[in-house]
Point group: C2
Chain length 459, copies 2
């Protein structure tokens, strides 16, 4: 409610050209909120809005914007304005932005950036897409072992403005090798004449530039770090990954898992901003594959024309749905446990054995309840119809029950095995989720069902 | 690999009773890693292992452990030992732990804690389960408006050890009302004689104790904060929520969504630690509900005995699977977008209209491809069988195609509408995921299919 009024107020002030009032109002807001405000403004108003912001706030707001808004603004900027924004922005935010821009704009950004910054940006752009290097920033505080605490404070004070975090400082030797780490808290509770080498923690946890960014994010979470140092192959410190970027990586990864598990090609754009065509394209690929795969199940069914009674067919949806649901349960649990490093391939047999026992327990209970249901329904409701035409109801229960147990067992085992194998061979386990497993389990269930039915009921 | 060897080394040192070496080795490790190490140790060795740790490291490690290990240790502790751990632990970690313990242990903890701490713990325990109050800590740095920067540093230095974060400091009046916020960075780049009131940021973003903890976590992520101040109804500062706790809340919430979306009752325990019975119980409830619901689809089928040809039945798995997959796609996209606040109920019609257009596009393409598939298969493969008994293949394609479009349309609309309605009435949108939607769509698809078939094919 409050935000709504703020937005309306801002739009009104802009309309009435009350720029000083607008500037004052915006100056009190958080960059993330101003970015949201600009998203709602008329496109032609955005540059005017943006130019009202104080310089530093403008750069912070720019870093918070969606790529399409950034592109729009860059196109409206003079080279001077663009240079100022690049000057104020943190390097990792700049690199994030560049990665989303079309080639012409990337060229312009690199041309406008000062030569030293350009070189650093080019280096950062060269790290592989999902590596720690691609999300790190080089704007960290480095200290020398021989400094006193007072000298360290001095150095921090002088360079703080340009650093993404000053709360974790890294101690390096002249060859830039990482020797230790000192937090701002350590510095504050030490006396000014203590030597950094004496108070630093030498057991530093670090990652390599080529490490997977998700692993790095998971480690930052695990250790509760504000930043993680990144070293190259010679263990020279080259950058840090900060906790806010780690959260972004974790969130992105989950977006991806949600999409993959629901048979959607992942996309980085937000739901509302993605066009209908792109949504349809992202979803069609998997739907087509799965639809054509389901054809096999259909082909299997046509082979059992002689067993095709309404009674037997009527159990098919229940059998297929339950198989699908069991597969969804196991695969979701396993995929999530793999994602947060709770289990790994080393737990393969432990997990399979667990799912096996769960499947037996669940399958048996379901078969029992379902038999009860069949008995009650057919003894009471359908008693006088010719639906089961003198078939032995006990045997029908047996056929459905055994098929049900088979479907549950297969679904739970596939739901456990496939994601773990996928991880092992370097695929995203989330691909092996419910839709794919359902399709496989369906075909097997139909095959099992009609064969048992023909054999037991002697159709 | 490296970690494995570390573990083996540690276990060996313990076995050979080389305690000083073990202590030295453990002292270099991170608390989170020691906690993992203890998870792998024999249960009877855990207290011995734990007692070797230096006092502060021991408390940090204790806070990182799983509840079952904490319980085991508390049972092995003397009251003195328990008191020491409680003394060292941060209050929010203590409260987290207490919430997982059985009543007898909670009593003992409260008895052993010093009276002042006991009162604070009891207050924190009284906040509702999912509120900001339940995850906040009261260990923040508060400053006065009239202090100088030098005085502020003095105060931080004196109280830093017991504070969970010293990097964001809060300025309060004598009535504890929140006046402003000052970061350690602000303090470091200011001259020592500046007044806090002059450098503090008065536009503080805060939350209330009763706010939902997920909303608070999402805000910390959005603004990139290290901590978020929490106030009571009179806007008095009562605590802070730190970024590490925010990450935990986000991760927990995602665990919950993964479980609910796969029709599993969420549980806080890890996959491997949950017993087979508990796994089975968490999964059975939904499976039973969904299985019995699928009965309706079966009952509908029995009504169409006269239309039950192998050809028509053979399309059922494909129709039901595709409906299910489409529902999974839309619901997953919407549930995730709702979870990260990308869309809200205000976007209801926008989202429904989007899904409607996507459904038309996707449904039409699928129907087209499927018709092609039917033609190719039945003209080439099944040409000389009597499977379609002189039925007009064009009309069969029409029946299947129209049903397919209907199923896609219904699935995509339900996948969009149900999660949004759930959110609106205060339920978790993740309940309205694929399994439930599949069950509803199945019944409607069967009904639609046979009715169109009877009408068009004049069976």
């Amino acid at each position: 409610m409050e935000e709504k009024t703020m937005q309306e107020q801002a739009f009104e002030l802009l309309k009435e050209r009350k720029y000083p009032e607008l500037r004052e109002m915006l100056a009190k807001m958080e960059p993330a909120d101003i970015a949201l405000l600009l998203e709602e403004a008329d496109i032609e108003d955005v540059p005017r809005f943006y130019r009202i912001l104080p310089k530093e706030l403008a750069a912070d707001t720019f870093a918070e914007m969606e790529p399409d808004m950034q592109e729009l603004l860059i196109k409206a900027f003079s080279d001077n304005e663009l240079g100022e924004v690049l000057e104020e922005m943190f390097l990792d935010d700049t690199v994030d932005m560049i990665e989303e821009m079309p080639a012409a704009i990337v060229k312009r950004i690199l041309r406008v950036a000062d030569p030293q910054k350009r070189e650093v940006i080019n280096n950062l752009l060269n790290y592989p897409k999902d590596s720690a290097g691609s999300i790190m920033t080089i704007e960290y505080v480095d200290l020398k072992k021989s400094m006193t605490v007072a000298e360290a404070f001095d150095r921090i004070r002088k360079t703080a403005v340009d650093k993404e975090t000053i709360y974790t400082c890294y101690v390096t030797d002249p060859g830039r090798h990482l020797l230790g780490v000192v937090t701002a808290k350590d510095l504050m509770i030490s006396s000014p004449d203590q030597i950094i080498g004496d108070i630093m923690d030498e057991d530093v946890i670090y990652v390599y530039t080529h490490d997977d960014k998700e692993d790095v994010a998971n480690q930052i979470d695990k250790y509760g770090f504000l930043a993680m140092p990144v070293v190259d192959n010679e263990k020279r410190l080259v950058g840090i990954v900060t906790v806010d970027d780690a959260i972004d990586v974790l969130q992105e990864e989950i977006d991806e898992d949600f999409a993959l598990m629901a048979a959607v090609t992942p996309s980085e754009e937000s739901y509302l901003k993605t066009s209908v065509f792109k949504h349809a394209r992202n979803r069609l690929i998997w739907l087509l594959i799965l639809m054509l795969s389901a054809t096999f199940t259909g082909m299997i069914i046509t082979r059992y024309e002689e067993a095709m009674s309404a009674l037997l067919v009527s159990f098919l949806p229940m059998l297929m749905d339950t198989g699908g649901n069991c597969g969804a349960q196991s695969s979701a649990m396993i995929i999530r446990a793999l994602a947060v490093d709770e289990i790994g391939f080393k737990d393969f047999f432990k997990a399979v054995f667990k799912e096996l026992r769960i499947a037996l327990l669940v399958g048996f209970t379901l078969a029992l309840v379902n038999s009860l249901r069949i008995f009650i329904m057919y003894e009471l409701v359908y008693k006088d119809t010719d639906l089961y035409k003198g078939m032995n109801l006990w045997l029908v229960c047996l056929v459905v029950g055994v098929t049900l147990m088979g479907a549950v067992l297969l679904a739970k085992l596939l739901g456990c095995i496939l994601p773990m194998l996928a991880k092992k061979i370097g695929l995203d386990p989330a691909i092996m989720a419910s839709p794919l497993i359902t399709t496989i389990v369906d075909a097997c269930t139909v095959l099992l069902y009609f064969n048992i039915a023909i054999w037991v009921l002697r159709i």
